[in-house]
């Protein structure tokens, strides 16, 4: 079942003496929806995904956090201290890193995830085959995972996480360096997961998230400066000028204008 995400009054620092990445940050994402985190570089988008996946608590031992995080029925105070995989799956920005490269075929690479979860062999093969078919990767099943195109690699990275059927899917800049055909394909895949999976994705430029996300959250310096639909964002854009760096505000304005977001009268 897709979980509801509730982040309550989160304050997070990488070091005790450091400046906070988030300060009193609160957010609620409805179950089964797709939420796009927008914001300029350094606004905390990736850090938020890492906190939710548990990898921030597990890898950054010097970090200091306050507040609460609730993912479905599980409540963490302040943040998860170990990775929440397979319930929560994070697809990293660089698919080359996500793909271990230690397996010789796409099938084996995706299966590696299920081996870690001690899934029986027959079940593994069925699930890998299903996920490859779902992501349009079946023709590449016997290819080396590193000898494919950028878009295909992104889908393999996604498959390596989706095969574990996480109920919360986190994607860090999934459209990064993808051509428009691959972006459309990825968008369709994510659309098909909505309802059964809660999706949180980061998108520097709003292009990929438009037409996919139900909820748009704009971050700046670790604070939520906007939360709502794309139409709400278009309407509120003028008031965001003071909260965002000018270049980023102009980028958002340009993209929203170009895609002609429908503003209800």
């Amino acid at each position: 079942m897709a979980p509801r995400i509730i982040i309550g009054n989160l304050t997070y620092r990488y070091f005790a003496a450091g400046s906070p990445v988030f300060s009193g940050f609160s957010l609620e994402v409805p179950p089964g929806s797709c939420c796009a985190l927008l914001g300029p570089t350094g606004s905390g988008k990736t850090t938020l995904l890492e906190i939710l996946s548990g990898v921030a608590g597990s890898q950054c031992k010097t970090s200091v956090a306050e507040g609460t995080i609730q993912i479905g029925e599980d409540r963490y105070q302040p943040i998860p201290q170990s990775t929440l995989f397979p319930n929560v799956g994070l697809v990293l920005q660089d698919p080359e890193v996500q793909i271990s490269g230690i397996r010789d075929t796409v099938t084996a690479e995706v299966e590696f995830t299920l081996e870690q979860l001690s899934v029986p062999a027959a079940e593994r093969q069925r699930r890998v085959s299903d996920v490859l078919a779902h992501l349009g990767l079946s023709p590449l099943a016997q290819r080396h995972p590193m000898e494919v195109s950028g878009g295909e690699r992104q889908r393999i990275a996604l498959a390596s996480i989706l095969v574990a059927t996480p109920s919360l899917l986190l994607l860090d800049e999934p459209a990064n360096a993808l051509d428009s055909r691959s972006q459309h394909l990825l968008k369709d895949i994510l659309r098909s997961r909505k309802g059964t999976t809660t999706i949180l994705l980061t998108d520097y430029s709003i292009d990929f998230a438009l037409g996919l996300a139900d909820l748009f959250v704009v971050l700046s310096d670790g604070r939520v400066v906007f939360q709502g639909t794309s139409s709400d964002l278009f309407r509120a854009l003028g008031s965001l000028q003071d909260h965002l760096p000018l270049e980023y505000w102009k980028l958002l304005q340009g993209r929203l204008s170009n895609t002609r977001v429908k503003v209800p009268s």
Binding site: V55, L92, Q98, I102, Q116, S118, I161, A164
Partner: protein, 247 residues
């Protein structure tokens, strides 16, 4: 005659031990045997064209390097008979002998390792090691290290291209290549470190931890017991003991 992972590992061990303990003539003979075996034994052939090309180019580069090194040793180590003199430069017997010994050793070691990694999938080697009882964490470390070393040339190439794109003549000629090493080294170390951290994170995000299993029990793993494995292991012991026995 089948060379599977255990036989190949035992053969590599035997060749490495012989390269360290055997005389240069034996090492050079074994290099010739390795080259011949690559051509006539199907299991020892390179997996693909890229590995075959790498095998040839690395060995050719090393062979040239060994000749230069032998000559330099002959000139710099001034002991024993003078073999020949030319333009005031003398070449000494001891230096040449030392150079041949070191060169032959290097050639045999390299060809043995290239033969193993060129003809065997890395996953096959690590799966076998894991099945033989090596802990998953060590197997993973070996696997990632070899994978990382193998990706190093392309990483260096990318950095060279990036420096060139900035207008630095890093590949103009040999001198500029050497001078640009510092400019290449720092991004190389930095990018390698960042990638190692990211890879660790990525593995954790896919459920990998120290107690994780490495391979599926249903995967067919080669039995380590065969005539060839025992033969190569026996020869390794002989190669280790013979110099000591002969004094």
């Amino acid at each position: 005659m089948h060379f599977r992972v255990p036989e190949k590992l035992a053969m590599t061990l035997c060749l490495l031990v012989t390269s360290l303990t055997g005389p240069p003539l034996l090492s050079l003979t074994l290099v010739a045997v390795v080259l011949l075996a690559r051509l006539i034994v199907p299991d020892l052939r390179s997996m693909n064209k890229i590995t075959a090309r790498r095998f040839r180019s690395v060995l050719a580069f090393l062979f040239c390097g060994a000749i230069v090194m032998t000559l330099l040793n002959g000139i710099l180590i001034r002991e024993g008979l003078i073999l020949f003199q030319w333009a005031g430069i003398s070449v000494y017997e001891s230096g040449i002998a030392f150079g041949i010994r070191t060169g032959a050793r290097l050639l045999l070691m390299t060809s043995a390792l290239l033969l193993l990694f060129g003809s065997t999938q890395l996953s096959g080697i690590t799966a076998f090691l894991n099945r033989m009882g090596l802990p998953a964490r060590i197997v993973m470390t070996i696997h990632l290290t070899v994978h990382f070393v193998a990706s190093m040339p392309s990483r260096i190439e990318r950095i060279y291209s990036a420096q060139e794109a900035r207008g630095a003549p890093v590949r103009a000629h040999l001198v500029s290549r050497i001078l640009s090493l510092t400019a290449v080294l720092s991004p190389l170390i930095l990018s390698s470190t960042v990638e190692s951290i990211e890879r660790g994170k990525a593995l954790e995000l896919r459920g990998y931890n120290s107690s994780s299993r490495w391979v599926d029990d249903t995967v067919q793993i080669d039995s380590p017991y065969s005539f060839l494995t025992v033969f190569f292991l026996f020869m390794s012991i002989i190669a280790l003991l013979l110099p000591w026995l002969l004094g």
